[in-house]
Symmetry: C2
Subunit: 233 residues, 2 copies
């Protein structure tokens, strides 16, 4: 992506996919103007496409639009500046493993844990009633939180065996997993009890300079716990 | 991917993601041995990975494993033989649009329509009771089928404006959308009433030689309607 292109990222701060893309943009050193949107009410501010675009949405001054997590991730990978190491890895085998793990967190973990916690602890308060706003479903929230230790155990095993989740080097799998966990942390739903290696892994990703803008996020009406901004929790 | 590598694809014939990958393998002229599995009971036949792999799973004689729809799709794209046109497109902008539309069918359409129809019309009969087997939820099935016309209308608009879904040339978006529709068709749940352009588009994809192996699929206990194998329905 050329430095002279003016790039805008439309994002919702608590969306784990938008967070992962913000981390990618920072790691790939792409300068961009963030535009915060609430997707359920700000559709008119997004580019008109068939079907309507899903967040994150990246636009360029030349009219180009890249919409949705898959398209944006692969676009940033394909257009990164020479000399910046790939977050997917160098060989087809490494890239396959990083994509597999990334898809696991974006798919299963989001469906069973982070997406549920986001809905019940945040979106219920923000959404209009006809779109699901209202009282949280505490049973559903409790079930999601009960599944968290399985995933922390998995992060523990992967990072203990490999150094990081996708291997020895920082990869998209680390950014994806940390983005999902950071949403839980913002919503005061992240406990590492007993998973010390997973905690060390998260601390390592969270202390990267590229993570700082995420730690400064504040969503009106939903404040994070103090630990959210601490790097040596 | 080298022709001398021995490639195996573990797949479940009614899974739309496995179908899409079979179409990709055929379009990219990768010779492979299909291994049919029922994921809920044949996990031991799949390679041991952390976390356990999700279908489709591609293995090579040299021990390489590529698992999950995202990883397999992008792997086939990255390792295709020179001279075979890309199913994603040539420019970053084209590729972004094809990935956006592919993700739309794999995400929203699968969640709202094809995944529900597969569950209620097929998996309920095949799964053990403790994994969701039993009587279909007819209300859920009816809701899914009621949403189908919206998606057919979308295919109608896209293919009328562009020739095919992702543009003028065959793309992964066509294969993904057709793979999902073919599952509905196998399960006698596809009606094109009023969407003539969508029907012509589907007929065009379905009549490609690469589609033929899918039309020969038979899942024990679940027979497709006669129209499933007809190309001029």
């Amino acid at each position: 992506m050329s430095e002279t292109e003016q790039v805008t990222l439309f994002h919702f701060p608590l969306d784990p996919f938008c967070r992962r893309v913000r981390l990618m943009l920072a790691e790939y050193q792409v300068a961009c103007t963030p535009e915060e949107v609430r997707p359920w009410r700000d559709a008119a501010r997004l580019p008109a496409l068939t079907p309507p675009p899903e967040l994150p949405v990246l636009t360029q001054a030349d009219g180009m639009v890249v919409a949705g997590m898959q398209a944006v991730s692969e676009y940033l990978e394909e257009t990164r500046e020479r000399g910046i190491p790939s977050l997917l890895g160098e060989t087809p085998a490494q890239r396959a493993e990083v994509r597999r793990l990334t898809a696991f967190f974006d798919g299963r973990f989001h469906m069973e844990v982070s997406g549920v916690v986001l809905m019940e602890k945040a979106l219920r308060r923000l959404l209009p009633r006809e779109m699901g706003g209202g009282a949280p479903d505490t049973t559903r929230l409790r079930q999601a939180l009960a599944r968290l230790p399985d995933y922390l155990g998995l992060i523990e095993r992967l990072s203990a065996a490999r150094g990081l989740i996708g291997g020895e080097h920082l990869s998209l799998a680390d950014l994806a997993a940390a983005a999902h966990l950071s949403v839980l942390e913002y919503l005061d739903a992240l406990r590492f009890d007993g998973f010390e290696a997973a905690k060390i892994w998260y601390q390592r990703i969270k202390s990267r300079p590229t993570f700082r803008p995420l730690l400064a996020d504040r969503v009106a009406g939903i404040l994070p716990p103090a630990v959210y901004t601490e790097l040596d929790f």
